[in-house]
Symmetry: C2
Subunit: 277 residues, 2 copies
């Protein structure tokens, strides 16, 4: 158990937080790609969703989540929430004292690299789209890109309803994606943690000529790189532990968590992270 140059233990867990359970798709991608890494997940289910809340509120929530994870001894923090990444990443970085990764940069970078013609669509919640965070990241890597953004507020409830392969969902997707397809996008970023579950349906709607970028997978790949570059990879572990914390007993937690994570959630604890409570 050798300490890294910065004094962090390589055996320490990766901390992952989201405003709710959507970040479990990011956790899932991380655990699939980095099976030796222990993980600590925090879902701020008492205050879900961050999207419609004021920037100041989101920054406070993200700071509290960061403090919680740092208190659990994590060696890195993944902000598995597009809203918190877009609104509060600098606050998390300032606070964490360990390497921090958001979901926006990896997804945006992967899209900038994957796009043939530089015509890139971005879909997400209203909060993510109105933040224009993906737009900025994509342009920082590919200044000539044309980015077409579309909020798809129905996709999260459709996923949570389990209607991931239904006529209703196909109609909603056609309606949301129609304007992007008219712009002849060649790449589409799924800029919401719930959307990986819609990938098969979205792939059918956009056709095989459009490359789908899954932010969760892009984030897991970026995390792998980050751990290597910071000499923080756990090369020794085998069956890495996963711990789960939520800030409120989420309704349908078991069902949703299983759907988003792809497996059962063990070791769940309800905690308070509200510094004012």
């Amino acid at each position: 158990m050798s300490p890294s140059p910065g004094g962090l233990q390589v055996s320490a867990p990766i901390g992952v937080f989201d405003s709710g359970l959507g970040g479990l798709t990011v956790l899932r991608a991380i655990r699939e790609r980095l099976p030796r890494e222990a993980t600590v997940y925090l879902g701020d289910t008492a205050r879900v969703t961050y999207g419609p809340k004021a920037a100041e509120t989101i920054r406070r929530y993200a700071s509290e989540a960061t403090d919680f994870l740092v208190g659990k001894g994590v060696k890195a923090v993944v902000v598995a929430c597009n809203t918190a990444t877009a609104r509060a990443l600098p606050d998390v970085v300032a606070r964490a004292g360990v390497p921090v990764l958001g979901v926006v940069e990896p997804g945006g970078l992967a899209a900038a690299r994957a796009s043939r013609e530089g015509r890139i669509g971005v879909i997400g919640t209203r909060g993510t789209i109105s933040s224009r965070a993906y737009n900025e990241v994509i342009h920082s890597h590919r200044p000539d890109a044309l980015v077409f953004e579309q909020a798809c507020p129905l996709f999260v409830p459709l996923v949570e309803e389990g209607w991931t392969d239904e006529e209703v969902t196909r109609l909603a997707a056609e309606r949301y994606l129609g304007p992007l397809l008219e712009q002849q996008i060649d790449t589409l970023v799924l800029a919401c943690t719930h959307y990986p579950l819609l990938k098969p349906l979205l792939a059918r709607v956009v056709g095989e000529d459009v490359c789908l970028i899954d932010s969760a997978e892009a984030t897991a790949a970026a995390l792998e790189q980050l751990l290597v570059s910071e000499s923080l990879s756990n090369t020794a572990g085998s069956s890495a532990a996963a711990r789960y914390y939520v800030t409120d007993e989420a309704a349908r937690f078991d069902l949703l968590a299983r759907r988003l994570l792809g497996e059962e959630v063990d070791h769940l604890e309800i905690v308070s992270v509200d510094s004012t409570g």
Copy 2:
């Protein structure tokens, strides 16, 4: 300006609160039915929605909203939120010191009275349906009623998207209501404050033999009765003032408020009601 028997001023406003903006449909029904009554609306937008939160959390939020309205000198409190009514009405009553009305009793009573055969459908959010609050109220007035409940979690985002007359929404409605229609319901309670905006579409889906009960209208009618019986009706006023408070700057507030309220919102203030903050 004569004081009522209990010392309350008849010219005092009606207080109305909801976890967000949905309660504006209830406020709208109240203002249409009781145009002489001044109103104070509180939307707890910083903590919307209450639905997935734990009962204890909802009780604290509802108590804080009640304290806020009482502090504004209201003569009655309307809990224009199905979740808060189902989970926290006794807390509001214990705290308010003025007459209190929730949305569940009026809607349930109206359905029990309207139903020809006693076959009653109830649609609402997952939280409202799982509370079984409408079931209880309907049975308390009509013990032999058969109540069929269906959560329709997509309806709120569909309304907020403005897709109140769309193919996507019709398909979702057919899917949700199919099982209720198979049970040959003769009455359907719209047990969510957003649903009044779907009434024309829902009426087409269920057909003219099914009576639609709008909880917002039923609540306004019950409030009128309550004010009369408590000698609290304002018979003198004319163009009654409406004040609006929210706990966070809600995204798309203007658009959503106009859609739900049916008019512009003036006199809006952002306030904190969080007793721990």
